[in-house]
């Protein structure tokens, strides 16, 4: 059964130790911040120069990339998978549904470090996370934005 054997803390720890510039985005980042949403996958936005670092770090978890690094850079994304599914965005910039350019370097410079015990996870600032939700622009991304706005209210209490 998926979700039983995978050591999540070790996984994040290996990524942190690799030095890869990897931002946890997507619903897993919402969970870290305090939103109880259902999610199957992990989503990262990775600096395109760090693909090899991430692949090397996740190899002990039997995660296999579905593209080689050059192909991933050309396409702008790839997947690491076994029983787990890790979506990795490697574009330098993406555009939101309303035409705003979102640059990895900007998000990285404003990142938040989260201590998860034996490891450190980097996530975008909440407003940047909202911007990333405007890239895919699916109905569930809109719902996530509404939840993130509620989360900001709780954080301000």
């Amino acid at each position: 059964m998926r979700g039983s054997a995978f050591d999540e803390i070790s996984f994040f720890s290996a990524i942190a130790a690799s030095g890869a510039r990897a931002l946890l985005i997507g619903r897993r980042a919402l969970v870290v911040l305090g939103l109880p949403v259902l999610t199957a996958d992990y989503d990262f936005w990775l600096h395109s120069e760090d693909i090899e670092k991430l692949n090397e770090a996740t190899r002990p978890f039997d995660l296999e990339p579905n593209r080689d690094a050059d192909d991933a850079r050309r396409v702008g994304r790839y997947v690491l998978e076994n029983d787990e599914h890790i979506d990795v965005l490697v574009s330098g910039a993406r555009t939101t549904v309303d035409g705003v350019e979102v640059r990895f370097d900007d998000l990285w410079s404003r990142r938040t470090s989260v201590d998860i015990g034996a490891a450190e996870v980097f996530i975008p600032a909440i407003d940047d996370l909202i911007l990333t939700k405007r890239i895919a622009a699916r109905p569930k991304d809109a719902e996530d934005i509404r939840l993130l706005e509620r989360l900001k209210e709780v954080r301000d209490e």
Partner: protein
């Protein structure tokens, strides 16, 4: 009484494609700006406060998310086997 009949694979595929579609800018903004009643807002805030109190650390929240997904998958498979 429910007969637990499952939708066809083509119906599931069509629903997945529909729910994962990229909205237009106007559609997306309409979703984001849809009015929220005070009751809905309070319910969302209550849920967030509960989650953060029950699982105060990010590591605990991540573990909860994995357990929650496993439970959901188990329930889903259970229905499919009926």
């Amino acid at each position: 009484m429910s007969d637990h009949r499952l939708p066809s694979s083509s119906a599931v595929q069509a629903t997945t494609l529909f729910s994962n579609r990229r909205l237009t800018s106007e559609e997306f903004q309409a979703y984001v700006d849809a009015p929220v009643s005070e009751a809905e807002r309070e319910e969302a805030l209550r849920l967030i406060r509960w989650f953060k109190k029950r699982y105060p650390t990010p590591a605990e929240r991540l573990a909860y998310a994995r357990r929650s997904y496993t439970r959901w998958r188990t329930a889903d498979l259970s229905v499919r086997r009926r």
